[in-house]
Symmetry: C2
Subunit: 162 residues, 2 copies
DNA sequence: CGTGCTATTTATAATCG
DNA sequence: TCGATTATAAATAGCAC
């Protein structure tokens, strides 16, 4: 880093830490947006800032939807290929605990399931042990909503009982 | 950028695009990890790479769990304050469609619910209309698992019927 | 506290082997 | 296609207000 070098550890001084956050966050957002644009890939970023209830999120909801939509615009042949391997996803769940940065299991499970569910359970797998009661109740409400929406969709294609 | 400057647009040349991804992704991961360490904040990154089924994810599952745990280590008084405002979260759901980068609604809804659910439904709210059958089936399985885990937890604290 | 400046460190596009 | 090198552009820590 410029001038003095900064050790890669928690900055104790409050003012300096806030300044660092303020300077680096825009840079980080710029980097991910550039990469996503240059290479046309789906990507997302969530950063919680001190004293801010809402995290910094990239990209916006609308942009994310557009990016994800691109997956469904793939030629059917490619989608079909992905559909053939169902067990890959199950296997990934079992191995999730072992998964570390960049040592990913290169199986053929569905990208979209992974994107949605990985982000959903990445933080707590299946325990929920440390959640407060309030969080649990609201979380349950929201999950049930999602389940209902999924069922509705499945019934439309005559697969409601699955 | 060094040598020639690159326009901020999709790199048509395949080799150059792959090279750019290969060079920039590690830099991006380094940036977010540095920010998270220097400022001790929860943050996560998901990047889909071409020809890779598994996205690059930071941080690892274990690290993420540790980071999220810090929220629950807050003094009870602060948690309690957050718990008082329940309607904030509902309101946010209604307004989600409008939410854009950094214009966040600064309400007092629970950080953890937001983190989990925002990432879960950010991409498709409640429609699920454009998901393939295969995705729906597996998604339902996983959502049911989560619901079961939540119920288990609620029953332990005598709130199973909620 | 925040804003702007500047000396440096980083990141990286192009190039080469 | 890939890694190593090099020349530049970007990012940013410390400082001055």
């Amino acid at each position: 880093m410029p001038h003095g070098r900064v050790k890669l550890q928690w900055i104790v001084n409050n003012a300096k830490r806030r300044a660092t956050m303020k300077k680096r966050l825009p840079g980080l957002v710029k980097k991910i947006s550039e990469l996503a644009i240059l290479c046309d890939i789906p990507a997302c970023l969530v950063v919680y800032r001190p004293d801010e209830e809402q995290p910094a999120v990239w990209p916006s909801t609308r942009e994310t939807t557009n990016v994800v939509q691109k997956y469904y615009d793939l030629p059917e042949s490619k989608k079909l290929k992905k559909m053939l391997d169902v067990e890959g996803f199950q296997q990934q769940q079992v191995d999730k605990e072992k998964a570390e940065l960049f040592n990913a299991h290169r199986d053929n499970c569905d990208q979209e399931i992974n994107l949605i569910m990985k982000q959903f359970i990445a933080h707590r797998r299946h325990s929920f042990e440390d959640l407060t009661t309030e969080v649990l109740i609201h979380l349950k409400l929201k999950v049930k909503e999602s389940l209902k929406a999924i069922d509705t969709r499945l019934q439309k294609i005559h697969l409601g009982g699955i």
